[in-house]
Amino acid sequence: MSSKSQAAQAGQALWSKMPKANAELFALTYGSLVTELVRDYEDPIEVNAQLDRIGHSIGVRCVDEFLSKADVAGMGLATQCQNLRDTAEVVSKIGFKMFLGIQAEVGGFSHDQRSFSIYLQDNPLSTFVELPPGDEQSGGDDLRKLKYSNLYCGVIRGALEQVNLKVECSIVRDTLKGDELNEIRVNLKEVLADGAGDDYKEE
């Protein structure tokens, strides 16, 4: 239990040191990105995949920044996460807090401890956003299939990939679609062996 409050404190401390951006500018920029993607690709499934790809690139860079800042601050994170539960705590309490300033909760651990959920009460990306009601042109519920915040899934996937955890993320609940909170489901696929070893193996 103490590690949870430690993580929360660490998250808060790191957040206060990060340079800040205007929340509205951030939300509007992301909104324009999504609408441009929708206009270019037209198929919401394809847009989801693109957002995931973009998120992946972001995540890969985020994890480096996180590890360097956390170490410098000496937050006691020099000890590695022992299991998926610790990883989940770090991602939600420190990761989300540090980069977005929001409170994220973890829960929904599966029996085999290989999946968990991250719950977001408010989502800074979707301020002002309202999904348009179904248009007649492309058949009813076109943009209902769009996962507006799919960027998060890519970020988590990219970040954990860099620390050798191959995961699959998806958004299962979305406030834009009428649910009370946003839920991201994370499934651990496999723990990768350290890739760098292969290149340096002697013949």
Partner: protein
Amino acid sequence: MSTPVLFVIVGKNEPLFEAEIDTHSSIGAPGQNDLSTRQNYFVLHSALDLVEKSAFTTNSMYLRVVDKVNHQQVSTFLTAANVKFMLLHGGKGEEVVKNFFNEVYGYYVKLSMNPFYKYDTPITSKAFEARVRAAARAYLS
């Protein structure tokens, strides 16, 4: 007694939003007969030219009453982007109408921040319509 008010938002080329609001009934749905509804729309649209005229006379966004027909008046509010909010009513106070317009302006700005709403297109959001009707009931009854 319960003359409904007609609220229209007009963009560059076409009306973007229309709502006939019966301020005295509990449901917001229009219950007017067709003839007077059509008349109301006609009066409101013919007032558009007068809006252009009075826009040059004042610095503020609220243009007060631009036209009077029989016992009805048309009040207009001009947003910074030349979108016109027009209200056809049977003689409500100027302050009351101004407050209503300001509230709707706030909702309109929030709507235009929605990345999926393209500027100067018809407004289809149900949430916006509900808010406008609630504001009308609050300010104009």
